[in-house]
Symmetry: D2
């Protein structure tokens, strides 16, 4: 039984590819026909995810040129499944053979080995590599475009915390204006400066850092989401946990609710010009699993990159004995900045799915009878 | 499109019923045949969830007698879907008609109204009532029994925090020994005492409290979980967000990872007697979405009960104008203690689903050829 | 793994119950909110399926009074799952214990025994009884009402053949006018007369007959259906094969296409008043899996009732030796007439599912803001 | 809402690609890890489907070289999704622009146009081309190998009828021995000769022929299949209706049951050497939707190729007026012989899915710890 590689009902994303295989790809089924698909737009999102963008990310070179294999005709989506991929080039797999039997702490090497009886492609983490998120970003870029074109929905994210350095509260406008200028994709410039310092310092020690990303979806209409098991929160969380390293997903005040009273937690309703909204947005735009029309707001915590330069204790699976490992290579000392477009992508894909389910995005965008 | 009322692939739970309708029920499809189904066991779990257990829970009387309508024959599951329900009795719906057009802050009244065009059963929150978790507990009790009988897996939870009162770290043994003795289901007796005080104080102010539950699944074998979109974390989170009031779901160190370095986050592998384990369990028993064989550990934050005695600002939907609301009735000042068996139930149902998918629990338990 | 008890994506039907258990029931998830649910209408469809309607059906008494347990409020659907059931009464299970280890030829006794390790409820066929179709009819009646109210779609069927007696071609009008007057639900009165004779003759020999039902869905708009694996034909066939005894499902000319040329098979397009149609309807209203706007027409063959009075060879499972069996009881000598409303129900449920998926039926029918 | 491009639960096939797009491809999710994947084996099946194999098939040249993009490592499946495709080469799309607004009778041109608002890729039938079955065959070849390696299950088919020429009953051995020698893939050489004549004669008239394929799965163990909505019959039928031109799917005696009595329809049970079987196999190896251990036998009718040389009446969509069309190009006068490996593929894919669901094929084949 394996349904793990697909997500979504009405906007369904199927992922394939391995880190050191031929490609990383994705098939999107259910995208409405008639959407103007811009390869440049998708490429731009891929570029945001790519390593080597600044001195604080991995210096690996990944070209990641988008290829669209199906589902698009005359510049528009046809309603057929859209297969997109990036070819893998210049993968150096030499180090992995040697390390095959010594699982790296914090990585999926050991669990993948058990799960697949040792047949898994272990090179570069194989199917469990962070590189899989290239596919997420291609699907997410498509979803973002769909949300924007049909309903003016924007999905934006920025880095809230890295290694204990916390950004101040920022507005959506600040995020939109500043996030791409910042090497850590943090909309608070002062915090961003300190985050960079913290990363450089930690990196020089051969260590890595975790952090937190906050993400907002603006202009989502009220009434979106399925009750009970198909809540917006549940479906978003499931998608966000697909991003390697994510270990916490919260909505609105999230974990802080445990310290509050009801009178400090409820959002009071208001009405203005016939439009209902709430005074505050502690609920993160979701009540009963359904959108309130306030921004959908979630927070995601990523653990530190498990690949660190320090010596670590592990085991030799073949001989079932204890050993140590030192991991070389060019790893991101902090994956959080590069994860920002990935988090946006997952949120966009889930919202596209729910808006199609709700009938708020139609299955055909216009008519082509030129 | 509505897939919201079912969850799971191989152990599939479908929920039905409303707070003030005829019943609360559940259909479980995929439970292996041959499991000795104990109605007393399920009833006991239902009783743990019931209000009126102590002075700090709602004094509402809910009898909640289990009825098994299908799928069981001669005391064993047959492999056919198991329909279970509790009849609703003595529901006083009088107050709800009056409040129909004034959505309660923090509740799903407004979003349900928009989602269903006003046709939703609004009495007592209808489909969005916490009472829906009675169905979750029936399904969860079945899952717990299945996990225990086949693999010796135990799912245990306790209250970690209420309104800022945090329990100390406790062992699994402490949880098992103490949780049912504690009126707040907290395994740290000293913290439990202060939690009770905090609840009583807050309740007397007409206010409510949120809190945090930690849950552990013991003896889960390694290699369980689907990669990518069907991770244990993602599927557990999706199920846990079905529990009303949950606003954060974390695994292992969860949100704390944002303050740590890789050298403080990785769990080192060890081997003893041919069995692999990790020195620490910061990952919460999951790497790459797949179980490591360490306990699966998650933490769930519930927001404070939105029904409070204080006056709150809301709107009159009919006239689209602002108004206020005061909510009477017998509400739990803190839902966390009663949510403990519910959280366990969701974790158990997801694990049963994944273990069946993995083939680690067979679809038939033995043979009946007496 | 067991997903067998649910069908549909947007209009999802989950079946539960056994022939000699407490009830036969169904949960329908995804029915739009705001539909006026008429219990009488559903009861009427249940009555059409009930045995004892004439001298050529089983004389068993099944009261089959509809109970609606959830999802309806103030006479309208709420958008929540609708649980409906009929209680089983006066089931005589005495004969089954004796026959437990001797599977009846043509029934599912043997396969169910293997599939469930002997734990299946074997009384009266248990989960595999034709009685399960009571649930199908409840769901189908709801679907019919939904199709009719929103789009004026009608689903009609009649008996085309019984035991080699074939009805002449009849129009939709004839079906609507005559089917309920006929004891065999055949719209050709002359054929119906001969069918009755054939059944009586065969019944008197302790034997049974198979037959064919044709079903039409009128007023289905063009463009409904998913390409490739979610074709109308495929989804209808899957649902129709859920009806016990169905062994062939055909669309349009069906099996007769094997004897024809392309020039005799294609339907030519016509246009009148801006509306496209085809001169003939050999395709049964479906091209590429998608509706053409012509009536959806399918034909279903049911095998003869396997319960016959004659002695049959079978095995004793306990001792793994050959034996014989004679089946008494009150069985339908021909199930076809009672299957007519069941076939209509499956077609209606699948069409409701596809029309909801296509957005042609909205998830909310109007607004309730009285 | 579009789930149309995927099928299966445990062995899940997702199709992508268009007739005149870049490629035809498929992603298979759920294939167990450790299967030795032979590209030659898959290529051989692709070659069986390819046009230009004899004088009675289309003379179009389709190279169809298999490319495996993911999921295989060191010659074995890894448990990750397997993406396979064939690149489209030398597609002449020139004629299609001209014909865009005049839908071909019997093709999906009109329904696809309505379904996708005119945005569909209409060249060569686009997504609705018979060429899509190249993907089915790649997935099916993988499934066949899996079935054979693990359980010795063979899936074989041959042409039963073309244009009224019916083959005599043949044994499985005859099918295996003769089908690839026959230009029409019919195991009855005498009938095959007449089928060829009939095709040549019809082809010379600019016309086409339909026919029937019978397919058998040998060595399927008893107890496979889900009850009710997930029957073997229903799931096989749904998959088979994905093959363009299929209009009837029958099991065992299929449509012939309508002329029989119960005493002529039931298969009597026998036991020999502790193994249960039936004297006859009128049920096609399935009772109650579950395998009996006899061969699974189904019959599929394909309508004649709709592309014929004769002038046909159709409409001009742009001007909504009636017109005529003549279809040139190199079309198969009878698609049945080339459909034989496609039908086998669909049956194999569904059986692989059900055997994985039943736990009879494990998710990991052995262990790789060399």
């Amino acid at each position: 039984m394996s349904m793990g590689n697909s997500i979504g009902v009405a906007f369904r994303v199927t992922s394939f590819g391995e880190s050191h295989g031929r490609c990383m790809g994705v098939v999107v089924d259910g995208c409405p026909s008639g959407l103007a698909l811009s390869e440049e737009h998708i490429q731009r999102e891929l570029d945001r995810r790519r390593p080597g963008q600044s001195r604080i990310t991995s210096s690996r070179s990944e070209d990641d040129r988008l290829e669209v294999l199906s589902g698009v005709f005359n510049g528009r989506t046809t309603g057929a499944p859209i297969c997109m991929l990036v070819w893998n080039t210049d993968r150096d797999s030499s180090g992995y053979e040697r390390r095959r039997w010594t699982p790296r702490p914090g990585h999926a090497d050991w669990t993948a080995h058990v799960r697949y009886g040792g047949f898994n492609d272990y090179r570069g983490g194989g199917r469990f590599s962070g590189r899989i998120t290239a596919g997420f970003v291609m699907a997410g870029a498509l979803a973002k475009r769909l949300l924007d074109e049909t309903l003016g929905i924007e999905v934006i994210a920025h880095t809230k915390e890295i290694g204990g350095v916390v950004a101040r509260e920022v507005s959506s406008e600040e995020i939109k204006a500043r996030v791409e200028e910042s090497p850590v994709r943090c909309a608070d410039p002062e915090a961003a400066r300190r985050m960079v310092e913290r990363i450089e310092e930690t990196s020089s020690q051969g260590d890595s850092l975790g952090g937190t990303i906050e993400c907002h979806a603006l202009n989502v209409p009220a009434g979106v989401g399925q009750p009970i098991f198909g809540t917006l929160e549940g479906d978003l969380a499931r998608a966000l946990y697909a991003v390697p390293a994510v270990k916490a997903v919260e909505f609105g005040l999230g974990g802080r609710f445990s310290k509050l009273k009801g009178s400090e937690s409820n959002d009071f309703f208001r009405v203005e010009g016939g439009r209902v909204f709430t005074e505050t947005n502690r609920a993160g735009g979701i009540l009963g699993g359904i959108s309130t029309c306030m921004p959908i707001s979630c927070t995601v915590t990523l653990k530190p990159t498990p690949s660190i330069g320090k010596q670590q204790r592990t085991i030799d699976i073949l001989n079932m004995e204890e050993t140590t490992i030192e991991i070389g290579g060019r790893h991101d000392p902090c994956i959080v900045p590069r994860a920002v477009p990935v988090i946006e992508s997952m949120v966009a894909a889930v919202l596209a799915d729910h808006l199609l389910q709700a009938g708020l995005i139609p299955p055909v965008l216009g008519r082509d009878e030129k």
